[in-house]
């Protein structure tokens, strides 16, 4: 496992990184959700955003996706700065969030056709059938998402994100709420798109470690560690993760605190 410091990346004069976030900050009133997050993701790399609930993972991904305006900082895709509301900003990006972003009263196929047309996809019908097949929903295209299980909805959501053949995929907690079979199915689908740049958030260390070659650990709105995870064991990664979010330090503090109290009582 390499160093625990956030790396800027992509500044060696070579090809620009597929994703670069510089000093991304989001403040909601007094609450600082994301505090100056900087990182880059190389072309074709799969990077995990790890962290406990409230660490700022989803907000960071939503800023990258253009769904949330950063209070400060910039986002570059392929070296080009993208601003929120710019129609070109997300043309090469596919996004999956907690919500399916689909209409319950349109069929799966109608939903995908609508989004394909909005994205200006050529050969809409053929492309829709292809992605339905890719995610294993070819025989369910005429059904409405309202009748789908959580796992099927997630697959349809991924199909929507893949319609325009994006170079970059932003996946926010893709495994949440899935049973083991759902996780395996989603894993197989993601195996089929591993030539793309993927940034996924998760708080499941094992699943994330399995999928990602690098891990960014977020906590309290900041990148606490940037870890190379290839050939890293689950226990090594968990230990590094716990150090990064200060879990071990808290435990030590609590032990020290208890001891002091005991001494004081004496």
């Amino acid at each position: 496992m390499s160093g625990d410091q956030p790396s800027a990346g992509g500044e060696d004069g070579g090809d620009p990184p597929a994703i670069r976030a510089d000093d991304l900050t989001k403040r909601y009133g007094r609450f600082l959700a994301v505090d100056g997050v900087s990182f880059s993701v190389a072309d074709g790399e799969t990077v995990g955003l790890f962290g406990p609930n409230g660490a700022g993972k989803s907000t960071t991904l939503r800023m990258l996706a253009g769904l949330v305006r950063p209070t400060a900082g910039t986002v570059h895709f392929g070296g080009v700065e993208r601003s929120l509301g710019d129609p070109d900003a997300t043309s090469g990006v596919g996004v999956v969030t907690h919500d399916a972003m689909l209409y319950d009263d349109l069929t799966a196929r109608e939903n995908l056709r609508f989004h394909a047309r909005l994205h200006g996809v050529d050969g809409v019908d053929a492309r829709v059938e292809a992605v339905l097949d890719d995610v294993g929903l070819a025989d369910r295209g005429s059904r409405r998402p309202a009748t789908f299980s959580h796992g099927l909805r997630k697959r349809l959501s991924l199909a929507r994100a893949l319609l325009h053949d994006p170079e970059v995929l932003l996946l926010d907690e893709p495994y949440s709420g899935l049973d083991q079979r759902g996780v395996a199915d989603l894993g197989r689908i993601l195996d089929g798109v591993d030539d793309r740049t993927v940034l996924l958030s998760t708080h499941d260390l094992d699943l994330g470690l399995e999928r990602c070659s690098r891990a960014l650990v977020l906590d309290r709105g900041r990148v606490q560690a940037d870890l190379q995870t290839e050939s890293t064991s689950s226990s090594e990664f968990e230990a590094a993760y716990r150090r990064a979010i200060g879990l071990d330090a808290e435990r030590d503090d609590q032990s020290t605190g208890d001891h002091s109290t005991a001494l004081d009582q004496r």
């Binding site: 253009g66 769904l67 900003a89 997300t90 996004v95």
Partner: protein, 224 residues
């Protein structure tokens, strides 16, 4: 990238298809409008109030209530499963999404207005010269457009913020008072044959201002 007008068309077509399938917006709002008209009918049944005056009042009160319900439902469709995020992720100008939503909501509100117009004729004895009906439908369409122009922004804002749906009428109704005022005056003028020019200009101008304001602010309303 999808063209601007294509994006508007796709949003309108999607909304009309959803509504044709569920009839959620028009049915809910039309039933509510009918209840308002019935309330007026019961309330004024034993009075000597002029049906023309009562009918006008019922028409525009129902317009506000049913219109508010209409824009709430229209925004609710986009709020469910964060469908609006899906539109915002598409490489289209966000104002095209706004224009599409305004046009489809205008159509829904207008349908409800026409049901209300028929209801006040039946239940309140409201009468209008046949020649004046197209003009009144035009007034209702323009009013529905102005109402929807601001309604789409305000309903989106309330759904995407912590304000909640209950804040919608409180924010929306004060903004559409000039639409209502012009609508009531134009309805009276059409019934009596009085000149309509001034109030028509007021309604048209204000609806235009609301639309331009919506175009300028929708981008911020969709922000979290």
């Amino acid at each position: 990238m999808t063209g601007y007008l294509t994006a508007v068309y796709l949003v309108v077509r999607k909304d009309l298809r959803l509504e044709a399938r569920t009839k959620q917006v028009t049915t809910t709002a039309a039933v509510f409008a009918l209840l308002v008209v019935l309330a007026f009918a019961f309330g004024f049944v034993k009075t000597l109030a002029d049906p023309q005056v009562v009918g006008r009042g019922a028409l525009w009160v129902a317009f506000v209530f049913a219109g508010t319900l209409g824009v709430t439902e229209a925004a609710g469709v986009e709020a469910e499963h964060a469908a609006l995020d899906g539109l915002l992720l598409a490489p289209v100008d966000r104002s095209a999404v706004y224009v599409g939503k305004v046009l489809s909501t205008t159509a829904f509100v207008l349908v409800v207005d026409l049901v209300t117009l028929a209801a006040i004729g039946v239940f309140l004895g409201y009468e209008l010269a046949l020649a004046a009906v197209p003009a009144l439908v035009g007034v209702l369409a323009l009013a529905a457009f102005g109402f929807s122009a601001v309604g789409v922004v305000v309903s989106t804002l309330t759904f995407r913020s912590s304000l909640g749906e209950l804040a919608l009428p409180v924010l929306l109704v004060p903004l559409v008072v000039p639409v209502l005022l012009a609508g009531v005056e134009l309805t009276a003028a059409l019934a009596t044959g009085a000149p309509t020019g001034t109030w028509l200009r007021v309604l048209g101008s204000y609806a235009g201002i609301l639309f331009l304001g919506g175009l300028a602010t929708f981008e911020y309303a969709v922000e979290e």
